[in-house]
């Protein structure tokens, strides 16, 4: 006799209210903090790998950021901004790591340019981001994926707000092209 395993509908998610989890974390609840961090695992990786380009360094910085976040979460004033706060800690840690590397990140290997016309297959977002110029990529990630404001991005990357805006504008045009291609493929 076979066991009966009825597949779930895939809609279920951990439903503990995030604010509640942050409050519990502030009281030192490691379980609540773990649930929060696990829910942002992808965000942490996306930011770290886009800044540091290799998994070892990315993991080092993510781990440091997690430890620092747990140590400092008690002082977080508004629980609603936990994610932004966490991402900022990570960016700072990545900036430190980049400074310590004391070398220029080679952009030419990553910046291969966009070649939509040559690619008739579906363009995936990750591949698109990988092909984006470095100065645009991190801004796209922080603005569109991590919901940081222009001001926050400017402060954390140590560049003027105007530069963030102009880079976002350039990125927007490229993103629109990508979105148009996606739409055409759907027809």
């Amino acid at each position: 006799m076979k066991i009966k395993i009825i597949p779930g509908n895939g809609k279920e998610k951990i439903n503990m209210d995030e604010v509640d989890l942050v409050k519990k974390s502030k009281k030192g609840d490691g379980d609540a903090f773990s649930i929060l961090i696990k829910s942002y695992e992808k965000d942490l990786y996306r930011v770290a790998i886009s800044m540091l380009k290799n998994d070892d360094d990315a993991l080092d910085c993510i781990q440091d950021a997690i430890l620092k976040a747990f140590e400092k979460v008690e002082r977080l004033e508004d629980e609603r901004y936990f994610k932004t706060w966490l991402i900022k800690i990570l960016i700072n840690r990545c900036n430190d790591a980049l400074a310590k590397r004391n070398k220029i990140v080679v952009l030419s290997e990553i910046n291969k340019g966009l070649s939509y016309s040559e690619n008739t297959e579906k363009i995936e977002v990750k591949e698109f981001l990988d092909k984006l110029e470095e100065d645009l990529k991190i801004i796209v990630i922080l603005y569109y994926f991590e919901d940081l404001s222009v001001k926050d991005i400017a402060e954390n990357l140590n560049i003027p707000e105007g530069t963030v805006k102009s880079r976002l504008s350039r990125a927007r045009n490229k993103l629109k092209t990508l979105m148009n291609i996606e739409c055409e493929e759907m027809i």
Partner: protein, 358 residues
């Protein structure tokens, strides 16, 4: 800006970034360290907790050393040790299967101590002996097959030795005792009556590397030098009889509405298994002024909760609070609602729902 909203939605919808396993494991390892440190701090609260431990509370810390005494001996290999059932004097002997056999591969000895299943969860208690390698093997992933069919799991909770000092001593001896409770994909169930043949394949060991063990505070040690991943095949097959537990898992229909402060709560049902009580409910009124949870009391008015997990919205809009506890031998439970609004919890004893257990 509408454009931005569209772009954001498009990017998130088509996001295909995959987090590498090594990153996930590294993050897990960091969270594990945090929990260990957290529990070490809590040891200072022994007296405070001990007062309520008489009524069986774990406080949600898997490494909590407050509740257990010094005499551990071979009890450490029993799953009741991890569930801290010693405090209530009852055990899972009517339900679990004791294995106690060891398989050695790649210098790592894996002992499957005992095994237990409910309709939605699988409990696997292991000891890992890594004296045969340089690194310290701490975590092990299991694939479970029931009657030849692989079980789809959605996640797990790992419980380490509840006695912190013992856990540290085990580390020195390169032995790790722990138990994992795997959850099935929500909505999935195991047909316990017919689950006869069990095969467990442990295939992935996570070990702390010797370099890091020797110099844990060295800032120059890179992430890749902290953790090692060892693939292998430590396989166990045995028979299981789930008839008894199948009979003892009962879902009681409640269908009662309660008004507490700003909230209206509709308790639909209460499911009781030997290790947990799950309250299925819906609440109206918003969570700004506090969120509803439940404590469970026995017939003597003692709170018998262990650990609370609030999880899953189902299609019919109901939430579930699964409250870990030992229900063996209970005749009656009282479900006491409370509102958790940091930093205070307000209890409503007069609105409690009592369920007579069969």
């Amino acid at each position: 800006m509408n454009n931005d909203k569209n772009i954001k939605e498009f990017l998130k919808k088509n996001d295909n970034l995959v987090v590498p396993k090594s990153i996930t494991k590294g993050i897990d390892s960091t969270l594990y360290e945090i929990k260990k440190k957290e529990c070490k701090k809590r040891r200072g609260k022994k007296t405070l907790i001990a007062a309520s431990v008489a009524t069986f509370i774990i406080a949600g810390c898997v490494y909590n050393g407050d509740a257990v005494g010094a005499a551990i001996d071979k009890a450490v290999t029993k799953m009741e040790h991890f569930l801290q059932y010693r405090l209530s004097g009852s055990n899972l002997s009517d339900y679990k299967t004791v294995i106690g056999t060891t398989v050695e591969k790649k210098g790592i000895k894996v002992t499957l101590n005992d095994f237990y299943m409910e309709d939605e969860r699988i409990f696997i208690n292991t000891s890992i002996d890594s004296k045969g390698i340089e690194d310290y093997a701490e975590h092990i992933e299991a694939q479970v097959y029931i009657n030849g069919e692989k079980v789809d799991k959605s996640g797990y909770m790992e419980i380490g030795n509840p006695n912190y000092e013992e856990d540290e001593k085990d580390k020195e001896n390169k032995v790790k005792h722990s138990m994992r409770i795997y959850s099935l994909i929500p909505g999935s169930t195991i047909d316990l009556k017919n689950a006869k043949d069990i095969k467990i394949i442990f295939d992935d060991v996570t070990a702390t590397k010797k370099e890091y063990l020797d110099n844990p505070n060295d800032p120059n040690i890179k992430a890749s030098d902290k953790v090692a991943y060892i693939r292998g095949n430590w396989e166990f097959s045995f028979s299981y009889n789930g008839e008894k537990v199948s009979k003892d898992i009962v879902e009681y229909k409640v269908d009662r509405s309660i008004n507490i402060e700003h909230l209206k709560i509709h308790v639909k049902s209460v499911k009781v298994t030997p290790t947990a009580v799950t309250v299925k409910f819906k609440d109206y009124g918003g969570h700004v002024k506090g969120q509803p949870f439940f404590d469970i009391e026995d017939e003597n008015g003692n709170i018998i909760n262990m650990h609370l997990y609030r999880h899953s919205h189902y299609d019919d809009g109901y939430n579930e609070n699964r409250i870990e506890m030992n229900t063996i031998g209970l005749k009656k439970i009282k479900i006491v609602p409370y509102i958790d609004k940091h930093p205070e919890k307000r209890y409503f004893e007069d609105k409690a729902v009592t369920v007579d257990l069969k």
